[in-house]
Amino acid sequence: MGLIEVEHLSRTFTVRRRAGRVRRTTSVVQAVTDLSFGIDRGEMVGYIGPNGAGKSTTIKMLTGILVPTSGRLSVAGIDPSRARVDLTRRIGVVFGQRTTLWWDLPLRDSFDLLRRIYRVDTDRHRRNVAEFTELLDLGDLLDTPVRQLSLGQRMRGDIAAALLHDPDILYLDEPTIGLDVVSKGRLREFLRRVNQERQVTLLLTTHDLQDIEQLCRRVMVIDRGSLVYDGPLGGLHAQGSSTRTLVVDLVDEAGPIDVPGATVTKVDGPRQWLSFPADASAAPVVAAVAAAYDVADLSINEPAIEDVIREIYSRR
């Protein structure tokens, strides 16, 4: 049995809009539609999709914040909306956009309060705080009130706070939003360690594909409430009708060359760009070009993962 099991999960929102002075129209917005997936213990899964695709709605249902409209949900064997309070001990949640810490309290006091709320024993707590303080470089920040921390510092504090009660699962909703490159790198390194050493299962939503590339073997893509891809990051290429590009440097300038199986997308002096399907072999294209023209140089560009995802989003 998977640690997280989601079957035919849907959530709708009823939106009331004013139409005229008194009259109101009601419309039903489908935020998440018939979502099914499972996540095993120890996985690190990236959950991506454009704004409003239903990422946060899914996470909020997995934490018990939102009640699903239909479908079945099981997280660590618990139905989140029925036993939300029991579930809180098994999960940690980090909302990138806002803190779960107490604005006016120094980090150290926030941590101590969390220890008492979650009833973590003192030894265990002290060890965790020491470890996170070292790994996340929180030493100088422990006595600073949260409102005085920078975004990156606050995020580190939030992540430490979410892990203090040794949860099985850590949900991160855009954890690297607004962070600089160095902070992002450090955060990813920390998350990788937490996953490997503590066997914490990670589910993270992000707009930064580097987060996924560096952390997650598995990625789920959601668009307009439906799961459009679930698999290894590399497999996304095959998903899209994405193309590879053959860049040809001819010896002499020429008009667009004619090669079966590929189309010229751009000509710049002797250099020409030919695109062909990503799942087709490059060999016949290269052979055809070399046979018909005098070629000075050749190179093949793989599609960038960003382009693949953009292509998936823009479909339909």
């Binding site: 929102f13 704004n51 409003g52 946060s56 909020k60 934490t63 018990g64 914040i65 939102l66 009640v67 909306s81 939300r84 309070v85 029991d86 809180t88 001990r89 999960i91 949640v93 909302f95 956009q97 806002r98 803190t99 779960t100 107490w102 006016d104 309290l105 006091d109 309060l113 008492r116 709320i117 979650y118 909703d173 855009e174």
Partner: protein, 278 residues
């Protein structure tokens, strides 16, 4: 409800401890700004004291109001103010629920292992609200000393119960009103109309109001059970509106009814909670 009683009890006792723990921490935090704390508390004491002064001024011109003397009115006034004060101290923070929902900080409360109601009330607990408790308590204490009552065990018991269940009635109204904030952000104004409004009306003997108003305060928003009906029993007065004398001992039942309604409304609200975008 569906869960076994023992685990429900365990949860309630844990929630109570969590309340004390969270509230205690906020008291310590506010104590580090003690000058401002003392000023705000004194101000709230003085503001609430002014409206009792108005009653004193009135009684320098008349002997009785609605058939009740000054000490009787002090008894009614003190009881309702003390009840509202305690309810406001413990639950009053709930009026910030709408703001929490709008800013999204409510989400953070939902992922912690303490009931959200407890957290909403205890988080940023404001001890300055003791100003109202102190004022109501003082007037009530003065009334207890001077009121013309032949004290018996039953009257003492009803007096104690009046404070306990009166507080619960106001607390229930607070929670009920707050539950509407899950649907509309104006819910807190509605609740204030019934809590502060109910308090203001029950500061006087209900004989000064038309019978319809008294019925509304009995059957619709049962604030008359906070102090009026038990006070009739303690002061040994027949009901001026001819309502059943059983009402005079029915405050616990009214409190339970309001409390159950509040729990159902709150749970429904939490389940209907929609969170904010992203």
């Amino acid at each position: 409800m569906a869960e076994p009683t023992s685990s429900a009890l365990r949860r309630i006792s844990w929630d109570a401890r969590a309340f004390v723990m969270l509230a205690g921490m906020w008291v310590r935090v506010s104590w580090s700004y003690r000058t401002s704390f003392v000023m705000v508390t004194v101000a709230s004491f003085v503001i609430t004291a002014v409206d009792f002064l108005a009653i004193l001024v009135m009684f320098s011109n008349v002997d009785r109001l609605g058939g009740f003397g000054l000490t009787d009115i002090a008894f009614l006034y003190g009881a309702t103010s003390l009840c509202l004060g305690i309810a406001d101290l413990v639950i009053g923070n709930i009026e910030r629920l709408g703001q929490r929902i709008r800013t999204g900080t409510f989400d953070a409360l939902m992922v912690r292992p303490v009931g959200v109601l407890v957290q909403v009330c205890a988080d940023e607990f404001a001890l300055r609200r003791v100003g109202r408790v102190a004022q109501g308590g003082l007037v009530f204490a003065w009334a207890l000393v001077h009121v013309d009552v032949a004290w018996s065990a039953a009257r003492v018991l009803v007096t104690v119960a009046m404070v306990v269940f009166g507080t619960l009635i106001f607390a229930g109204i607070y929670v009920l009103g707050a539950s509407f904030q899950f649907l509309s952000s104006e819910g807190s104004e509605v609740a204030n109309a019934f809590t502060y409004g109910g308090n203001a009306m029950t500061q006087y003997p209900l004989t000064i109001y038309p019978a319809e108003a008294v019925r509304a305060m009995t059957f619709v928003v049962p604030v008359a059970f906070v102090n009026w009906y038990p006070a009739l029993f303690v002061l040994d007065r027949p009901d001026p509106f001819g309502l059943p004398s059983a009402f005079q001992l029915a405050s616990p039942a009214a409190a339970v009814a309001v409390g159950l309604l509040a729990v159902v409304a709150w749970r429904g609200g939490v389940r209907r909670y929609r969170s904010t975008g992203s």
